[in-house]
């Protein structure tokens, strides 16, 4: 059993009396694809923002490669080897695709083109990011996150707003990355996508972990469907 690359203990974060995340504890095993699912407002994106330093937790700790990274600033977290994308793709809209990628890592055009091919990005390096379709902006952001030297890739709803063809490609892309030994954790709503590629699924509800396990275990668990359909 490979060890836990990322561990989160009793994370708490509330906004004006309402708990976004409460006593949230989970781990991500190295070399796996781990998905975080749960109904709207379950605290999935807040958990991502707490791990990557965008939000400071009120209580609890975050450990990465056995090092406590709680409270580090986002650029410090990135330098420890965590690379992430955002719920709404955040590309540098006035810069070309090439310049977007060069911020992550200096590389030759050949290498950059290879990074883009890896995510089936269908446009040249010179196109300005702002003029791309939403799907292509999403792929560019993922390619950029892959180029940044990292050991953990965090994707926040990678399939959101992406057409079904690209969605299938994303599945194969993530599987290839896993083959190369990458560890991936993603927030996702498309259940077909989650159930078909995840080694481990963590179910968040009302800011805390309801259950976790293999896709089959989670699908069978009555309380998960109940969380979605409500009491």
């Amino acid at each position: 059993m490979n060890n836990m690359l990322l561990r989160v203990y009793n994370l708490d974060k509330h906004f004006g009396g309402v708990y976004a995340v409460h006593n949230c504890t989970f781990g991500v095993r190295e070399g796996t694809i781990t998905s975080i699912i749960g109904p709207n407002g379950a605290g999935k994106t807040t958990a991502f923002n707490l791990i990557t330093g965008i939000l400071k937790p009120d209580k609890g700790t975050v450990w990465f490669k056995k090092k406590n990274i709680t409270g580090l600033r986002p650029y410090e977290v990135a330098r420890t080897g965590i690379s992430r994308t955002f719920q709404l793709a955040k590309v540098f809209k006035y810069m070309s695709a090439r310049d977007n990628l060069l911020i992550a890592r200096q590389a030759s055009d050949k290498e950059l083109q290879k990074a883009l091919d890896q995510v089936n990005y269908a446009r040249e390096l010179d196109t300005i990011a702002g003029e791309l379709s939403y799907g292509n902006q999403r792929l560019l952001e993922i390619a950029r996150a892959l180029l940044l030297p990292h050991e953990l890739l965090m994707l926040d709803e990678p399939t959101a707003g992406v057409n079904p063809k690209v969605r299938q490609e994303l599945k194969s892309i993530l599987k290839n990355l896993k083959k190369q030994g990458k560890t991936i954790v993603l927030i996702e709503h498309d259940m077909d996508f989650v159930m078909s590629i995840s080694d481990e699924v963590i179910v968040l509800n009302e800011g805390t972990v309801l259950t976790s396990g293999t896709p089959a275990q989670v699908r069978k668990n009555k309380r998960v469907l109940e969380a979605y359909l409500g009491k």
Binding site: N40, R219, L225, Y228
Partner: protein, 240 residues
């Protein structure tokens, strides 16, 4: 057409480049409670926003009482008797409860008419009556949601659109809220509601639409939740 208060025909809509709906068909009869459920990102809220012209409609049309209102500006829809309670307990936090209600009747002329309607509305939400002079930000989450609904009711709408009213509310408050929605419906207001808490919403619904990826996947009465397809829609596993 008389049998339909609101008809949505082949609706395609989204936000800028992001498409969310891929052809929605829906007929809502006067006096019923219609509920839209479905997994996250299925486009539930976008349907509601399209009826109120709060997003970009690409194709299809919205017929209200036989009239095509797809392109009608927002404030004219209010005069037709449609009002909306947006998602997330949106209130005028720095105004008092009474002022929030008065703003609901902003387009109404005549002080007495506003007073009588305020009494009617407060009869549905009695605990707001004691808080009339309190600022809205001092209310609890549940009270804020009830204030947002009362503000919409001040327009005496024929069609009330509710966007996830139970979000962030405790189960007990949600039950109380749904009871109030039924009372309001009994007095003749048609309700179109988007809800994540599918079980509680379907318990009071006359017609249920289950949305998946911008299309209506399932339609039916209160028994629709028992349909085995629900599990696949919510937890995937269509067998690829």
């Amino acid at each position: 057409m008389a049998s339909s208060l609101l008809t949505i025909r082949n609706l395609e809509a989204g936000y800028g480049r992001l498409k969310a709906l891929f052809g929605i068909e829906m007929v809502i009869k006067p006096g019923e409670i219609a509920v839209l459920i479905g997994p996250n990102g299925a486009g539930k809220s976008t349907v509601l926003k399209s009826v109120f012209n709060l997003c970009d409609i690409r194709k299809g049309s919205i017929i209200y009482k036989g009239k095509d209102i797809t392109k009608l500006p927002t404030h004219e829809r209010i005069q037709l008797g449609i009002s909306i309670v947006p998602q997330g307990r949106q209130v005028f936090s720095n105004l008092t409860v009474k002022e929030n209600l008065e703003m609901g009747a902003y387009m109404t002329k005549g002080k007495e008419l506003i007073e009588t309607r305020m009494d009617e509305v407060l009869s549905h939400f009695p605990d707001l009556r004691q808080k009339l002079n309190a600022n809205a930000f001092s209310l609890s989450g549940g009270q804020q949601q009830m204030l947002a609904m009362s503000r919409a009711l001040m327009q005496d709408p024929q069609l009330l659109l509710l966007d996830e009213p139970s979000l962030g509310l405790a189960p007990k408050t949600t039950q109380e809220l749904f009871q109030r929605i039924q009372d309001i419906n009994k007095e003749g207001t048609t309700v179109l509601m988007v809800e994540q808490n599918a079980k509680a919403a379907c318990a009071i619904a006359d017609q249920i639409f289950v949305l998946e990826e911008g299309k209506v996947a399932l339609k039916g009465g209160r028994s629709v939740l028992k349909n085995p397809k629900i599990k696949n829609i919510y937890l995937g596993g269509h067998g690829h």
